[in-house]
């Protein structure tokens, strides 16, 4: 079965790719890139080193270490990857492997409010595409990017396990749903005013 030609047949069809491009679908975007830490942020690296000390006693805690870095810097800068590898005594390649594996980690700076909108089946049927469109319009960015005012990062993600609140979204880790396109302005205002 491994040698079945099906896989190659599909890819070899000259007409396979263009259709792909022509379609608007809500693709998940996490473009990998490595943004070095700005000079002003460097002192925080010592804070990170302190926070990593207790994790040395917990084998396998690279996810927690990455969360600590992301909380400090809003993303995981290359300097943090190097430091986590040193402090936890694991290869840097392993830390980089982990940070790129999990969708909640970002290699690029994020805004203080990360909006994660579900685009999977139940939410899709309940109107997720319209919700995503309304958020994109209100924020003035395509999903996968930070809003010009620096307040929001908009992400489109897989099922959040909030299907009873379809269409659902997270504001950082706070659950919201059902969110209709008309609810978007109030929701964003609420977050801006610190109620999110």
């Amino acid at each position: 079965m491994l040698n079945s030609p099906a896989i190659f047949q599909v890819n070899n069809r000259a007409d396979a790719r263009p259709y792909r491009m022509a379609i608007h679908h809500t693709e998940l975007e996490t473009p990998p890139g490595r943004q070095p830490l700005p000079e002003a942020e460097r002192p925080k690296l010592e804070t990170l080193r302190e926070q990593l000390q207790p994790l040395k006693e917990l084998p396998g805690s690279s996810i927690e270490a990455l969360y600590a870095a992301q909380e400090l810097f809003s993303y995981v800068p290359p300097e943090a990857i190097t430091m986590i590898a040193e402090e936890l005594n694991i290869p840097e390649s392993q830390v980089f492997g982990v940070v790129t594996f999990y969708t909640m980690f970002s290699l690029e700076p994020q805004a203080p409010n990360v909006l994660r909108v579900c685009r999977d089946l139940s939410c899709h049927l309940a109107g997720a595409p319209k919700l995503i469109g309304a958020l994109e319009d209100a924020l003035g960015v395509r999903h996968g990017h930070n809003s010009p005012d620096g307040q929001f990062t908009l992400k489109v993600v897989s099922c959040l396990g909030l299907c009873d609140m379809q269409p659902a979204m997270l504001v950082n880790l706070d659950q919201h749903g059902p969110v209709m396109p008309d609810d978007v302005p109030d929701l964003l205002d609420g977050i801006r005013n610190g109620a999110g």
Binding site: M1, L2, S4, P5, A6, I7, Q9, V10, N11, D15, A16, R17, Y19, R20, A22, I23, H25, E27, L28, L58, P59, G60, S61, S62, I63, E64, L66, Y67, L88, I90, Q94, G97, V98, F101, Y102, T103, M104, F105, R116, R119, D120, L121, S122, H124, L125, A126, V157, S158, C159, L160, G161, L162, C163, D164, Q166, L170, N172, L173, D174, Q175
Partner: protein, 416 residues
Amino acid sequence: MELVVTRNFGRPESWTLASYREAGGYEALERVLKEMTPEEVTDLIKASDLTGRGGAFFPTGLKWEFVRKDPKTPRYVVVNADESEPGTYVNRLSLELDPHMTIEGMIIAAYASNAERGYFYIRGEYGLSHERVKAALREAYEAGYLGQGICGRSDFNLEVEFRRGAGAYIVGEETALFNSLEGKRGNPRFKPPFPTNFGVWGLPTAINNVETLAAAPAIVMNGAEWFKDLGIGDAAGTKMYCLSGNVVNPVCVELPLGVSAREVIMEHGGGVPEGRTLKGFKPGGASSAPLTPAELDAALEPKSMAALGTIMGTGGVVVFDDTTCMVDVAYRDALFFEDESCGFCIPCREGTPNLVQICERILHGQGTMDDLDLLEELGASMMASFCGLGHFAHQPVRGAVSRFRDEFEAYIRGRN
């Protein structure tokens, strides 16, 4: 109907130790530690026919026994709360509303499998669950249900560590979850050796779904026969079914395992919105192939679903009405698996984007009848995938073609 795992959901502050104790919580653990040997506990769970609610429905008592019989130590118990299957939110409700029930089940599992260490692993997005479970673990430590010398038994210790994921559906696969716990990328591992002999850190590990563990205390209190009789026909116990999609009430209900889809969708979900008609439904999350209204009377339990060429899965029932396009539904599932494939093996890494492309061709009127055959062939090659994700990813798409073929053909013939 008697409720098992959701019976405390309506209580005030149901997630606290005080409330759980008032409802009889941790009495099962005390009974187990006073009156039963680990062998007696596994025998009881085996007799109850409790099977894994994570989707594979493996006999739970047997799993614990395998772990206990492996001489390597320390043995581990792991709670799998990585729930990420589209259309499924049952574990989230248990974690938010009654974390102690799962913790009590976990301690009973540890006693039965002679384990002394444990991990409680929750997906990264479940923020409220993190808080509630961490608080509950703290309470359980303070009350002496966790730690050294549990309930005065100097020979029974259990240290549990809380862990969270960071966004990855595949980590729900048990061996991928072990890699995640070990601080690595969440790629699955080869089986065998199975987790019961070679789990986290290469040690014997009993890994169970939240709902499986939450059922254990009630079985201890009420007996194996009681639990078995709760199910319909051959199926034992209850299952949390949760509804979403084009349904009036997107709710979660605990019902006898083996209840008909009609009862779940029509009675508890209130059917489809007024003025619409039911077109189909998915019995258990994204991995399950959709069924038609003609199959509404089928029992939602593993055997009858397998007979229909789909799976029972997670109990996440997704409902479609006549405004829903089944080609689009297939496409959504394909997109999900394309994004969640971990990329470790070729049939799945290459196969899942191919599924997406075929659906896109068809949706844009550029598909051919050959594409439908190609799907079958592609599915066959994806059966060579390394883990369950690749084995299941093509089933919902092929299932949609086999049951709703006219919709696919309408696109292909350009009549849509």
